[in-house]
Symmetry: C2
Protein backbone atom coordinates (compact mmCIF):
# COMPACT_ATOMS: atom_id res chain seq x y z
CA UNK A 1 0.00 0.00 0.00
CA UNK A 2 1.37 3.41 -0.99
CA UNK A 3 0.20 5.46 2.00
CA UNK A 4 1.17 9.11 2.35
CA UNK A 5 0.32 11.69 4.98
CA UNK A 6 0.28 15.31 3.87
CA UNK A 7 0.75 18.18 6.31
CA UNK A 8 -0.99 20.81 4.20
CA UNK A 9 -1.09 24.58 4.36
CA UNK A 10 0.40 25.21 7.79
CA UNK A 11 2.30 27.56 5.52
CA UNK A 12 -0.19 28.68 2.84
CA UNK A 13 0.58 26.85 -0.39
CA UNK A 14 3.12 24.49 1.17
CA UNK A 15 2.72 20.81 1.99
CA UNK A 16 5.04 18.24 3.48
CA UNK A 17 4.34 14.63 2.60
CA UNK A 18 5.58 11.59 4.48
CA UNK A 19 5.25 8.01 3.32
CA UNK A 20 3.67 6.06 6.16
CA UNK A 21 4.86 2.52 6.79
CA UNK A 22 2.36 1.88 9.58
CA UNK A 23 -0.15 3.79 11.66
CA UNK A 24 0.52 3.33 15.35
CA UNK A 25 -2.10 5.31 17.23
CA UNK A 26 -4.82 7.87 16.61
CA UNK A 27 -7.30 9.54 18.95
CA UNK A 28 -9.23 12.72 19.58
CA UNK A 29 -8.17 14.00 23.01
CA UNK A 30 -9.99 16.65 25.03
CA UNK A 31 -7.79 19.29 23.36
CA UNK A 32 -6.65 18.11 19.93
CA UNK A 33 -6.29 15.25 17.49
CA UNK A 34 -3.27 13.10 18.28
CA UNK A 35 -1.67 10.61 15.89
CA UNK A 36 1.50 8.57 15.88
CA UNK A 37 2.69 6.93 12.67
CA UNK A 38 5.83 5.23 11.44
CA UNK A 39 7.34 6.90 8.38
CA UNK A 40 10.09 6.04 5.95
CA UNK A 41 11.88 9.41 6.06
CA UNK A 42 11.60 10.49 9.70
CA UNK A 43 11.03 7.36 11.76
CA UNK A 44 8.11 7.48 14.21
CA UNK A 45 6.27 10.81 14.04
CA UNK A 46 3.90 12.50 16.50
CA UNK A 47 1.19 14.70 14.99
CA UNK A 48 -1.12 17.08 16.86
CA UNK A 49 -4.04 18.38 14.79
CA UNK A 50 -2.31 16.99 11.69
CA UNK A 51 0.85 19.03 12.27
CA UNK A 52 4.20 17.31 12.75
CA UNK A 53 5.41 17.83 16.32
CA UNK A 54 8.43 15.60 16.50
CA UNK A 55 10.07 12.54 14.93
CA UNK A 56 12.35 9.91 16.39
CA UNK A 57 14.90 10.49 13.62
CA UNK A 58 15.34 14.24 14.05
CA UNK A 59 13.87 15.21 17.45
CA UNK A 60 17.34 15.55 18.97
CA UNK A 61 17.86 18.89 17.23
CA UNK A 62 14.79 20.65 18.55
CA UNK A 63 15.01 19.19 22.03
CA UNK A 64 18.70 19.94 22.47
CA UNK A 65 18.41 23.44 21.10
CA UNK A 66 15.37 24.50 23.14
CA UNK A 67 17.12 23.46 26.37
CA UNK A 68 20.93 23.50 26.35
CA UNK A 69 21.43 27.10 25.24
CA UNK A 70 19.67 28.47 28.34
CA UNK A 71 20.95 25.68 30.61
CA UNK A 72 24.54 26.55 29.74
CA UNK A 73 23.96 30.29 29.92
CA UNK A 74 22.67 30.15 33.50
CA UNK A 75 25.52 29.43 35.95
CA UNK A 76 23.35 27.35 38.26
CA UNK A 77 20.12 26.10 36.65
CA UNK A 78 18.66 24.20 39.60
CA UNK A 79 14.95 24.44 38.88
CA UNK A 80 13.53 24.36 35.37
CA UNK A 81 9.93 24.62 34.14
CA UNK A 82 8.69 23.34 30.77
CA UNK A 83 5.31 24.51 29.50
CA UNK A 84 3.93 22.07 26.91
CA UNK A 85 6.49 19.57 25.65
CA UNK A 86 4.37 16.58 26.68
CA UNK A 87 6.45 14.21 24.53
CA UNK A 88 9.16 14.55 27.16
CA UNK A 89 12.04 15.36 24.80
CA UNK A 90 12.90 18.67 26.46
CA UNK A 91 12.80 17.03 29.90
CA UNK A 92 15.14 14.25 28.74
CA UNK A 93 17.68 16.91 27.73
CA UNK A 94 17.23 19.09 30.84
CA UNK A 95 18.04 16.27 33.22
CA UNK A 96 21.32 15.64 31.40
CA UNK A 97 22.54 18.83 33.06
CA UNK A 98 24.23 17.90 36.36
CA UNK A 99 23.14 21.08 38.16
CA UNK A 100 19.41 20.53 37.58
CA UNK A 101 17.73 19.42 40.81
CA UNK A 102 14.13 19.70 39.72
CA UNK A 103 12.31 19.86 36.36
CA UNK A 104 8.57 20.53 36.22
CA UNK A 105 6.56 19.72 33.10
CA UNK A 106 3.18 21.42 32.81
CA UNK A 107 1.27 19.90 29.91
CA UNK A 108 -2.37 20.73 29.31
CA UNK A 109 -3.11 17.45 27.52
CA UNK A 110 -2.52 14.35 29.65
CA UNK A 111 -2.91 12.10 26.60
CA UNK A 112 0.20 13.56 24.94
CA UNK A 113 2.30 12.42 27.90
CA UNK A 114 0.58 9.06 28.18
CA UNK A 115 0.88 8.19 24.48
CA UNK A 116 4.51 9.42 24.37
CA UNK A 117 5.30 7.11 27.30
CA UNK A 118 3.64 4.22 25.48
CA UNK A 119 4.77 4.75 21.90
CA UNK A 120 7.79 7.10 22.01
CA UNK A 121 9.95 5.71 24.82
CA UNK A 122 13.22 7.08 23.39
CA UNK A 123 11.79 10.61 23.64
CA UNK A 124 9.75 10.32 26.85
CA UNK A 125 12.31 8.31 28.82
CA UNK A 126 13.19 11.18 31.18
CA UNK A 127 9.64 11.62 32.48
CA UNK A 128 10.03 8.95 35.16
CA UNK A 129 13.23 10.45 36.57
CA UNK A 130 12.88 11.29 40.28
CA UNK A 131 13.87 14.93 39.63
CA UNK A 132 10.89 15.32 37.27
CA UNK A 133 7.36 16.36 38.23
CA UNK A 134 4.62 16.14 35.58
CA UNK A 135 1.48 18.24 36.03
CA UNK A 136 -1.60 18.23 33.80
CA UNK A 137 -2.64 21.86 33.92
CA UNK A 138 -2.97 24.98 31.86
CA UNK A 139 0.58 26.37 31.69
CA UNK A 140 -0.68 29.95 31.59
CA UNK A 141 -2.48 29.53 34.92
CA UNK A 142 0.45 27.64 36.40
CA UNK A 143 2.96 30.44 35.81
CA UNK A 144 0.47 33.02 37.14
CA UNK A 145 0.38 31.11 40.41
CA UNK A 146 4.17 30.87 40.86
CA UNK A 147 6.51 33.71 41.77
CA UNK A 148 10.28 33.98 41.87
CA UNK A 149 10.69 30.22 41.69
CA UNK A 150 12.40 29.02 38.50
CA UNK A 151 15.87 29.50 37.06
CA UNK A 152 14.68 28.68 33.55
CA UNK A 153 11.23 28.55 31.92
CA UNK A 154 10.91 26.89 28.52
CA UNK A 155 7.83 27.18 26.31
CA UNK A 156 7.83 24.05 24.19
CA UNK A 157 4.54 24.79 22.49
CA UNK A 158 2.71 23.92 19.31
CA UNK A 159 2.14 26.61 16.70
CA UNK A 160 0.08 29.59 17.87
CA UNK A 161 -3.23 27.92 17.10
CA UNK A 162 -5.52 25.88 19.35
CA UNK A 163 -4.50 25.51 23.00
CA UNK A 164 -1.15 27.29 22.42
CA UNK A 165 -2.45 30.72 21.33
CA UNK A 166 -2.03 32.26 24.78
CA UNK A 167 1.58 31.07 24.98
CA UNK A 168 2.57 33.65 22.35
CA UNK A 169 0.93 36.59 24.13
CA UNK A 170 2.58 39.32 26.13
CA UNK A 171 0.63 38.60 29.30
CA UNK A 172 2.09 35.10 29.39
CA UNK A 173 5.63 36.46 29.02
CA UNK A 174 4.99 38.82 31.94
CA UNK A 175 3.83 35.91 34.07
CA UNK A 176 6.97 33.98 33.10
CA UNK A 177 9.15 36.93 34.11
CA UNK A 178 7.48 36.94 37.52
CA UNK A 179 7.73 33.16 37.93
CA UNK A 180 11.47 33.36 37.22
CA UNK A 181 14.03 34.19 39.88
CA UNK A 182 15.85 37.51 39.62
CA UNK A 183 18.48 36.03 37.29
CA UNK A 184 16.13 33.70 35.42
CA UNK A 185 15.97 32.92 31.70
CA UNK A 186 12.90 32.43 29.50
CA UNK A 187 13.06 30.46 26.20
CA UNK A 188 10.33 29.88 23.63
CA UNK A 189 10.12 28.26 20.22
CA UNK A 190 9.10 31.11 17.94
CA UNK A 191 8.48 29.59 14.50
CA UNK A 192 10.18 30.17 11.13
CA UNK A 193 11.90 33.40 10.04
CA UNK A 194 11.16 32.45 6.42
CA UNK A 195 7.45 31.85 6.80
CA UNK A 196 6.22 33.33 10.09
CA UNK A 197 7.26 36.86 9.25
CA UNK A 198 4.41 38.51 11.14
CA UNK A 199 4.70 36.52 14.35
CA UNK A 200 8.45 36.80 14.85
CA UNK A 201 8.76 40.62 15.09
CA UNK A 202 5.77 40.71 17.45
CA UNK A 203 7.23 38.07 19.77
CA UNK A 204 10.60 39.81 19.77
CA UNK A 205 9.01 43.14 20.63
CA UNK A 206 6.98 41.63 23.44
CA UNK A 207 10.04 39.90 24.86
CA UNK A 208 12.14 43.08 24.64
CA UNK A 209 9.45 45.02 26.48
CA UNK A 210 9.67 42.57 29.37
CA UNK A 211 13.25 41.26 29.61
CA UNK A 212 16.43 43.37 29.71
CA UNK A 213 18.23 40.93 27.38
CA UNK A 214 16.38 39.51 24.35
CA UNK A 215 18.07 37.33 21.75
CA UNK A 216 16.97 35.19 18.81
CA UNK A 217 18.77 32.03 17.79
CA UNK A 218 18.29 29.53 14.96
CA UNK A 219 18.61 25.81 14.37
CA UNK A 220 18.20 23.38 11.47
CA UNK A 221 14.94 21.53 12.27
CA UNK A 222 14.08 19.24 9.34
CA UNK A 223 10.57 18.37 10.55
CA UNK A 224 9.33 21.97 10.39
CA UNK A 225 8.38 24.04 7.33
CA UNK A 226 11.47 25.47 5.64
CA UNK A 227 13.79 23.66 8.06
CA UNK A 228 14.92 26.88 9.75
CA UNK A 229 13.50 27.38 13.21
CA UNK A 230 13.82 30.22 15.71
CA UNK A 231 13.98 30.35 19.48
CA UNK A 232 13.63 33.52 21.52
CA UNK A 233 15.44 34.02 24.80
CA UNK A 234 14.41 36.64 27.33
CA UNK A 235 16.94 36.91 30.11
CA UNK A 236 17.00 38.99 33.29
CA UNK A 237 20.75 38.96 33.82
CA UNK A 238 22.87 36.59 31.71
CA UNK A 239 23.57 37.21 28.02
CA UNK A 240 23.45 33.83 26.23
CA UNK A 241 25.86 35.07 23.56
CA UNK A 242 28.41 35.99 26.22
CA UNK A 243 28.10 32.71 28.15
CA UNK A 244 31.39 31.24 29.33
CA UNK A 245 31.25 27.70 27.98
CA UNK A 246 34.82 26.70 28.77
CA UNK A 247 33.57 24.58 31.66
CA UNK A 248 30.22 23.38 30.33
CA UNK A 249 29.41 19.91 31.69
CA UNK A 250 29.97 18.27 28.30
CA UNK A 251 27.21 15.67 28.55
CA UNK A 252 26.46 13.76 25.34
CA UNK A 253 24.60 15.66 22.61
CA UNK A 254 24.14 15.10 18.89
CA UNK A 255 23.61 18.71 17.74
CA UNK A 256 24.54 21.12 20.54
CA UNK A 257 28.11 22.02 21.36
CA UNK A 258 29.71 25.26 22.61
CA UNK A 259 30.47 26.39 19.05
CA UNK A 260 26.85 25.83 18.01
CA UNK A 261 25.68 27.72 21.13
CA UNK A 262 27.46 30.85 19.91
CA UNK A 263 26.96 30.37 16.16
CA UNK A 264 23.18 29.95 16.55
CA UNK A 265 22.92 33.64 17.50
CA UNK A 266 24.65 34.84 14.32
CA UNK A 267 21.73 35.88 12.15
CA UNK A 268 21.42 36.28 8.38
CA UNK A 269 20.77 39.86 7.29
CA UNK A 270 17.10 39.24 6.46
CA UNK A 271 16.47 37.89 9.98
CA UNK A 272 18.23 40.86 11.57
CA UNK A 273 15.97 43.14 9.51
CA UNK A 274 12.86 41.15 10.43
CA UNK A 275 13.33 41.58 14.19
CA UNK A 276 14.83 45.07 14.12
Amino acid sequence: MDLWFYERNIVPGLSLGLEVTSTVHSEQTEFQHLAIVDTKAMGRVLFLDNIIMTSTKFEFVYHEMITHVALNTHPNPKKVLVIGGGDGGAIREIIKHPRVEKAVLVEIDRRVVETAKEFLPEISCGLNDPRVEVLYQDGIKYVQEHQNEFDIIITDSTDPIGPAVGLFEKGFYESCRDALKEDGIFVAQTESPYYDVNLLPKVQKNTRDIFPITKLYLAFIPEYPGGCWSFTIGSKKYDPEAADLSNWPNYPTRYYNPGIHKAAFVLPNFVRELIK
Copy 2:
Protein backbone atom coordinates in the same frame (compact mmCIF):
# COMPACT_ATOMS: atom_id res chain seq x y z
CA MET B 1 -8.56 25.32 -9.44
CA ASP B 2 -6.64 23.71 -6.56
CA LEU B 3 -3.41 22.81 -8.34
CA TRP B 4 -0.47 21.29 -6.46
CA PHE B 5 2.93 20.13 -7.61
CA TYR B 6 4.59 17.40 -5.56
CA GLU B 7 8.34 16.86 -5.55
CA ARG B 8 8.24 13.21 -4.50
CA ASN B 9 10.84 10.85 -3.18
CA ILE B 10 14.03 12.80 -3.94
CA VAL B 11 14.46 11.71 -0.36
CA PRO B 12 12.77 8.30 -0.07
CA GLY B 13 9.43 8.70 1.67
CA LEU B 14 9.50 12.51 1.63
CA SER B 15 7.52 14.85 -0.59
CA LEU B 16 7.34 18.63 -0.84
CA GLY B 17 4.12 20.07 -2.22
CA LEU B 18 3.68 23.55 -3.66
CA GLU B 19 0.37 25.12 -4.58
CA VAL B 20 0.70 26.39 -8.13
CA THR B 21 -0.99 29.65 -9.05
CA SER B 22 0.00 29.45 -12.73
CA THR B 23 2.21 27.38 -14.99
CA VAL B 24 4.64 29.58 -16.88
CA HIS B 25 6.73 27.29 -19.06
CA SER B 26 7.41 23.59 -19.61
CA GLU B 27 9.67 21.79 -22.09
CA GLN B 28 11.83 18.73 -22.60
CA THR B 29 15.34 19.98 -23.40
CA GLU B 30 18.16 17.89 -24.82
CA PHE B 31 19.24 17.06 -21.25
CA GLN B 32 16.29 17.25 -18.86
CA HIS B 33 12.72 18.33 -18.28
CA LEU B 34 12.48 22.02 -17.46
CA ALA B 35 9.46 23.72 -15.90
CA ILE B 36 8.78 27.14 -14.45
CA VAL B 37 5.66 27.72 -12.35
CA ASP B 38 4.34 30.42 -10.07
CA THR B 39 3.64 29.20 -6.54
CA LYS B 40 1.95 30.64 -3.49
CA ALA B 41 4.69 29.77 -0.98
CA MET B 42 7.94 30.32 -2.93
CA GLY B 43 7.15 32.71 -5.77
CA ARG B 44 8.32 31.62 -9.22
CA VAL B 45 10.03 28.24 -9.12
CA LEU B 46 12.39 26.54 -11.60
CA PHE B 47 12.20 22.74 -11.75
CA LEU B 48 14.62 20.41 -13.56
CA ASP B 49 13.40 16.82 -13.89
CA ASN B 50 10.65 17.65 -11.37
CA ILE B 51 13.14 18.73 -8.70
CA ILE B 52 13.05 22.26 -7.28
CA MET B 53 16.19 24.12 -8.34
CA THR B 54 15.47 27.64 -7.19
CA SER B 55 12.67 30.05 -6.29
CA THR B 56 12.42 33.80 -6.56
CA LYS B 57 11.41 34.08 -2.90
CA PHE B 58 14.34 32.20 -1.38
CA GLU B 59 17.09 31.91 -4.05
CA PHE B 60 19.14 34.63 -2.36
CA VAL B 61 20.28 32.21 0.32
CA TYR B 62 21.72 29.53 -1.94
CA HIS B 63 23.24 31.97 -4.41
CA GLU B 64 24.86 34.16 -1.77
CA MET B 65 26.20 31.23 0.21
CA ILE B 66 27.68 29.32 -2.74
CA THR B 67 29.65 32.40 -3.82
CA HIS B 68 30.50 34.95 -1.11
CA VAL B 69 32.25 32.59 1.31
CA ALA B 70 34.97 31.74 -1.24
CA LEU B 71 34.98 35.25 -2.76
CA ASN B 72 35.73 36.78 0.63
CA THR B 73 38.27 34.12 1.56
CA HIS B 74 40.41 34.72 -1.52
CA PRO B 75 42.30 38.05 -1.24
CA ASN B 76 42.05 38.79 -4.95
CA PRO B 77 39.36 36.77 -6.76
CA LYS B 78 39.83 38.13 -10.28
CA LYS B 79 38.67 35.19 -12.38
CA VAL B 80 35.82 32.92 -11.33
CA LEU B 81 34.35 29.85 -13.04
CA VAL B 82 30.83 28.51 -12.42
CA ILE B 83 29.99 25.00 -13.61
CA GLY B 84 26.21 24.61 -13.98
CA GLY B 85 24.20 27.41 -12.42
CA GLY B 86 22.44 28.24 -15.67
CA ASP B 87 19.78 30.29 -13.88
CA GLY B 88 22.48 32.95 -13.39
CA GLY B 89 21.98 33.45 -9.64
CA ALA B 90 25.57 32.60 -8.72
CA ILE B 91 26.87 34.91 -11.46
CA ARG B 92 24.68 37.78 -10.20
CA GLU B 93 26.32 37.42 -6.79
CA ILE B 94 29.88 36.96 -8.09
CA ILE B 95 29.86 40.22 -10.03
CA LYS B 96 28.85 42.11 -6.89
CA HIS B 97 32.45 41.57 -5.76
CA PRO B 98 34.53 44.58 -6.87
CA ARG B 99 37.71 42.55 -7.48
CA VAL B 100 36.10 40.16 -9.98
CA GLU B 101 37.27 40.97 -13.52
CA LYS B 102 35.90 37.94 -15.31
CA ALA B 103 33.23 35.32 -14.54
CA VAL B 104 32.78 32.31 -16.84
CA LEU B 105 29.58 30.26 -16.72
CA VAL B 106 29.78 26.80 -18.27
CA GLU B 107 26.27 25.33 -18.50
CA ILE B 108 25.61 22.13 -20.40
CA ASP B 109 21.97 23.00 -21.13
CA ARG B 110 21.52 26.17 -23.19
CA ARG B 111 17.76 26.13 -22.53
CA VAL B 112 18.27 26.66 -18.79
CA VAL B 113 20.04 29.94 -19.48
CA GLU B 114 17.60 31.01 -22.19
CA THR B 115 14.47 30.32 -20.14
CA ALA B 116 16.02 31.94 -17.03
CA LYS B 117 16.70 35.06 -19.10
CA GLU B 118 13.11 35.07 -20.32
CA PHE B 119 11.18 34.09 -17.20
CA LEU B 120 13.50 34.69 -14.21
CA PRO B 121 15.02 38.12 -14.90
CA GLU B 122 15.66 38.89 -11.20
CA ILE B 123 17.90 35.82 -10.99
CA SER B 124 19.53 35.88 -14.43
CA CYS B 125 20.13 39.65 -14.57
CA GLY B 126 23.91 39.35 -14.24
CA LEU B 127 24.34 37.18 -17.33
CA ASN B 128 24.52 40.16 -19.68
CA ASP B 129 27.24 41.92 -17.68
CA PRO B 130 30.36 42.63 -19.80
CA ARG B 131 32.56 40.72 -17.30
CA VAL B 132 30.50 37.55 -17.86
CA GLU B 133 31.11 34.89 -20.50
CA VAL B 134 28.48 32.16 -20.96
CA LEU B 135 29.53 28.90 -22.63
CA TYR B 136 27.28 25.97 -23.47
CA GLN B 137 29.56 23.02 -22.86
CA ASP B 138 30.15 20.02 -20.65
CA GLY B 139 31.75 21.49 -17.53
CA ILE B 140 33.82 18.35 -16.94
CA LYS B 141 35.48 18.68 -20.35
CA TYR B 142 35.89 22.43 -19.89
CA VAL B 143 37.92 22.14 -16.68
CA GLN B 144 40.03 19.36 -18.20
CA GLU B 145 41.05 21.78 -20.95
CA HIS B 146 42.04 24.65 -18.62
CA GLN B 147 45.10 24.79 -16.39
CA ASN B 148 46.18 27.22 -13.70
CA GLU B 149 43.63 29.79 -14.79
CA PHE B 150 40.95 30.44 -12.15
CA ASP B 151 41.01 31.93 -8.67
CA ILE B 152 37.70 30.28 -7.75
CA ILE B 153 35.72 27.40 -9.27
CA ILE B 154 32.12 26.91 -8.13
CA THR B 155 30.09 23.78 -8.89
CA ASP B 156 26.48 24.92 -8.87
CA SER B 157 25.04 21.57 -9.89
CA THR B 158 21.81 19.65 -9.65
CA ASP B 159 21.66 16.55 -7.44
CA PRO B 160 24.06 13.74 -8.43
CA ILE B 161 21.65 12.26 -10.96
CA GLY B 162 21.37 12.85 -14.73
CA PRO B 163 23.93 15.22 -16.30
CA ALA B 164 25.44 16.14 -12.90
CA VAL B 165 26.69 12.68 -11.82
CA GLY B 166 30.26 13.35 -12.96
CA LEU B 167 30.39 16.60 -10.98
CA PHE B 168 30.47 14.61 -7.73
CA GLU B 169 33.36 12.35 -8.79
CA LYS B 170 36.98 12.55 -7.75
CA GLY B 171 38.32 12.91 -11.29
CA PHE B 172 36.33 16.12 -11.67
CA TYR B 173 37.76 17.51 -8.42
CA GLU B 174 41.26 16.74 -9.67
CA SER B 175 40.56 18.62 -12.89
CA CYS B 176 39.27 21.55 -10.85
CA ARG B 177 42.44 21.57 -8.75
CA ASP B 178 44.50 21.78 -11.94
CA ALA B 179 42.29 24.47 -13.49
CA LEU B 180 42.75 26.60 -10.36
CA LYS B 181 45.74 28.84 -9.80
CA GLU B 182 48.19 27.87 -7.07
CA ASP B 183 46.13 29.68 -4.42
CA GLY B 184 42.72 28.83 -5.87
CA ILE B 185 39.53 27.77 -4.09
CA PHE B 186 36.99 25.14 -5.14
CA VAL B 187 33.37 25.20 -3.86
CA ALA B 188 30.55 22.73 -4.48
CA GLN B 189 27.01 22.27 -3.24
CA THR B 190 27.10 18.91 -1.50
CA GLU B 191 23.51 18.11 -0.50
CA SER B 192 21.90 17.56 2.92
CA PRO B 193 23.68 16.28 6.03
CA TYR B 194 20.32 14.98 7.29
CA TYR B 195 19.37 12.99 4.21
CA ASP B 196 22.41 12.51 1.97
CA VAL B 197 24.43 10.67 4.58
CA ASN B 198 26.24 8.45 2.09
CA LEU B 199 27.25 11.15 -0.38
CA LEU B 200 28.61 13.70 2.07
CA PRO B 201 31.40 11.60 3.65
CA LYS B 202 32.49 10.45 0.17
CA VAL B 203 32.66 14.00 -1.19
CA GLN B 204 34.59 15.17 1.87
CA LYS B 205 37.08 12.35 1.54
CA ASN B 206 37.60 13.01 -2.16
CA THR B 207 38.11 16.71 -1.50
CA ARG B 208 40.56 16.05 1.35
CA ASP B 209 42.59 13.74 -0.88
CA ILE B 210 43.02 16.55 -3.38
CA PHE B 211 43.08 19.87 -1.51
CA PRO B 212 45.27 20.73 1.50
CA ILE B 213 42.38 22.57 3.19
CA THR B 214 38.89 21.03 3.12
CA LYS B 215 35.94 22.54 4.99
CA LEU B 216 32.20 21.99 5.11
CA TYR B 217 29.72 24.79 5.75
CA LEU B 218 25.95 24.93 6.12
CA ALA B 219 23.08 27.25 5.24
CA PHE B 220 19.30 27.38 5.73
CA ILE B 221 17.92 26.65 2.23
CA PRO B 222 14.11 26.36 2.47
CA GLU B 223 13.62 25.01 -1.06
CA TYR B 224 15.67 21.85 -0.45
CA PRO B 225 14.69 18.71 1.51
CA GLY B 226 15.15 19.25 5.25
CA GLY B 227 16.13 22.89 4.75
CA CYS B 228 19.75 22.30 5.79
CA TRP B 229 22.22 22.38 2.94
CA SER B 230 25.95 21.78 2.80
CA PHE B 231 28.74 23.28 0.73
CA THR B 232 32.24 21.85 0.51
CA ILE B 233 35.30 24.04 0.04
CA GLY B 234 38.62 22.68 -1.15
CA SER B 235 41.33 25.29 -0.90
CA LYS B 236 44.98 25.27 -1.94
CA LYS B 237 46.15 28.03 0.38
CA TYR B 238 43.52 30.10 2.19
CA ASP B 239 41.50 28.76 5.12
CA PRO B 240 37.93 30.10 4.78
CA GLU B 241 37.41 29.92 8.55
CA ALA B 242 40.47 32.10 9.12
CA ALA B 243 39.54 34.70 6.49
CA ASP B 244 40.13 38.30 7.54
CA LEU B 245 36.74 39.88 6.85
CA SER B 246 37.43 43.23 8.51
CA ASN B 247 37.76 44.85 5.09
CA TRP B 248 35.27 42.82 3.06
CA PRO B 249 33.72 44.98 0.32
CA ASN B 250 30.33 45.08 2.09
CA TYR B 251 28.15 44.93 -1.03
CA PRO B 252 24.43 44.39 -0.42
CA THR B 253 23.38 40.87 0.64
CA ARG B 254 20.28 39.46 2.29
CA TYR B 255 21.77 36.39 4.01
CA TYR B 256 25.59 36.59 3.95
CA ASN B 257 27.57 38.75 6.35
CA PRO B 258 30.97 38.29 7.98
CA GLY B 259 29.39 36.70 11.06
CA ILE B 260 27.48 34.21 8.91
CA HIS B 261 30.69 33.44 6.97
CA LYS B 262 32.33 32.21 10.18
CA ALA B 263 29.24 30.71 11.86
CA ALA B 264 28.42 28.59 8.79
CA PHE B 265 31.52 26.47 9.49
CA VAL B 266 30.45 25.65 13.05
CA LEU B 267 28.99 22.16 12.69
CA PRO B 268 26.53 20.24 14.86
CA ASN B 269 28.04 17.12 16.45
CA PHE B 270 26.24 14.72 14.11
CA VAL B 271 27.66 16.51 11.05
CA ARG B 272 31.18 16.45 12.50
CA GLU B 273 30.75 12.70 13.03
CA LEU B 274 29.40 12.21 9.52
CA ILE B 275 32.43 13.72 7.80
CA LYS B 276 35.07 12.51 10.26
